[in-house]
């Protein structure tokens, strides 16, 4: 695939994520869906850049903020949306909700409701991949907040010790819920923590899909060579609240503005126009198409049935 098509592809996927999350927020506001959800608005470049650098057989583990990762990995927006609606046609048949979906055929091993919970899972997946001589690589998404969990330390240490093929991808969006990294981390950047595991730690602009892609690409090459794990910190920002109903009082309007100016889709759009990979008209068409996919997802979800109560006790054990 040439550069043009690649970039257009990223653009399409990033828009899809953006519109998906905006629609979800809207549906919550209107009471159409219940529970809660954590939108990835503004962090699209991390998910898309990272997933674009992976191979088909690679694995991905995700977080509570996982819709974007799943879409970037090729997940079906309709099945994600249906899961949010609690419908039988959702990825987890309504059992998991926003924080627990998986698509093993895509190597997408699940979002995760426990902050830091994905880190040891990914490490173990990489251990298995290595033991089975698969040459597969694991991409493990997590947040700045998650990097304060003990599992971060334990997992990165083991992965480095055993030279596991895993790429730890931290989306540092400056906050864990309302808590600024200044108040949760003794060091400034998550990447600084890599040295404690004799691991390379790089920090990239997480709003630049190409920068993310390139960093993950290099880490993947390294992992496949048997040279072990990497830690990549993607500097980004969530444009929305932490979860639904978050008034975001812990952030200043100035800070939000600053980051809005840096948001990744605008950035990529400019690049596409500049490089003449896309005309204004084509851009409009792409946006329209993305919106249609989302509208279709909502329709699909609304049309779908709730799981039948009689299924409640099905499938506790395999």
């Amino acid at each position: 695939m040439g550069e043009k098509n690649k970039l257009l592809d990223y653009y399409r996927t990033m828009l899809l994520i953006r519109f998906f999350e905006e629609k979800v927020e809207d549906l919550f506001r209107r009471g159409a869906i219940k529970g809660t959800s954590h939108p990835a608005t503004g962090q699209e470049a991390c998910a898309v850049g990272a997933c674009a650098a992976l191979g088909k057989k690679d694995y991905v583990t995700s977080t509570h903020r996982g819709h974007g990762h799943m879409i970037a990995r090729g997940g079906d927006p309709s099945k994600i949306m249906a899961e949010l609606f609690g419908k039988e046609s959702g990825y987890s048949r309504g059992r998991g909700g926003s924080q627990l979906m998986a698509d093993f055929q895509l190597g997408f091993l699940g979002s995760n409701g426990i902050t830091g919970g994905g880190l040891p899972l990914a490490t173990g997946v990489a251990l298995s991949a290595k033991l089975r001589h698969t040459r597969r690589v694991v991409a493990c998404f997590f947040g700045d907040g998650a990097s304060n969990q003990g599992t971060f330390h334990e997992s990165l240490n083991m992965a480095s010790l055993w030279k596991l093929p895993v790429i730890y991808i931290c989306e540092n969006n400056l906050y864990a819920m309302s808590t600024n990294i200044k108040n949760s981390m003794a060091v400034k950047n998550v990447a600084e923590r890599a040295a404690a595991y004799a691991m390379e730690g790089v920090r990239v602009d997480g709003n630049d899909v190409l920068a993310v892609h390139d960093a993950v690409h290099m880490a993947r090459v390294k992992a496949k060579k048997g040279d072990g794990p990497s830690l990549i910190e993607c500097a980004t920002y969530r444009l929305s609240g932490h979860s639904r109903g978050d008034p975001r009082k812990y952030r200043t309007a100035a800070e939000e503005k600053e980051w809005e100016a840096k948001e990744p889709i605008k950035h990529l759009r400019k690049l596409l126009l500049k490089k003449k990979y896309m005309t204004g008209k084509e851009s409009t068409a792409i946006r329209k198409e993305a919106r249609q996919i989302i509208a279709e997802a909502v329709k699909f979800s609304k049309r779908s049935k709730f799981p039948d109560e009689s299924t409640l006790t099905e499938g506790l054990f395999a």
Partner: protein, 326 residues
Amino acid sequence: MREITYTEALREGLREEMELDASVFLLGEDIAGYGGAFGVTRGLIDKFGAERVINTPISEGSFVGAAVGASLVGSRPVVELMFMDFIALASDQLVNHAAKLHYVFGDQAKCPLVVRAVGGAGRCYGPTHSQSLEAWFVHTPGIKVVAPSTPADAKGLLKTAIRDNNPVLFMEHKLLYNERGPVPRIADPIPLGKARVVAKGEDLTIVAYSAMAMESEKAVIELHEHGLSAELIDLRSLCPMDIDSIVESVKKTGRLMVVEEGHRTAGVGAEVACRVFEEAYDYLDAPIRRVASVDVPISASPPLEQALLPSCEKIVTAALELIGTD
């Protein structure tokens, strides 16, 4: 009497104890400016400052462990666990440390520690944000377990828990936060281990706690319409447990039903049933009935979540069946 919400009652309890005792401080994720995920600590930072309302990194194991350490040397930490499900990350600190240190080290060591944990389902938060894990700690000698169901109890029991010289797991229920009820402005602490008789009755004893006490209260009213008079006992604290009040009631009614939101197997209900069976065997006119959550993870989807949870309707049905077995 003025009515306030469960949330406000908890906040009042915290505020009053912090005013009374400078050694009380709060620790947890997003409890300062944000006021906690459910708003319980909202505003307390303004009154008590960042020294006493401390935001932590996401490190459940160690901030609970740090609270245990602080409690050993003269502080009275009150920790918030945003969701009770996360207590699994801190159970070593509670079970292998807090619960054992006084027994092992003797009077020199006390752990006046409260862990406020937000439990319960009903809001479609899914498998890892809806659990009721109190049974683990009821099974652990050395830690008290409290689970208020009304605003008045929330305040009174929290005050007692904070003053207690032992580790206390204080279980709040997310469905109760917005419930209103009368709470005295000057509230006495409520002793742990004294159940509350919510309704007097003759035909059947229902034992419940936390949100299920509320649900059972509705059921008692419905049962009245069926001509049945149920006695409802709200346990309030699971350890110590007021077995005497239950036994006394069962001696009168001859029938017992235990309602809990935790999973059925090896839950709190099994213990209550067993104790009554041991101590009031001869008075029982029918098998003891447990109403509890079905033994599968708690789905996010509304109909599945509801199918799993005990409810007023299920309590009524079970009660009618129980009476029928007479």
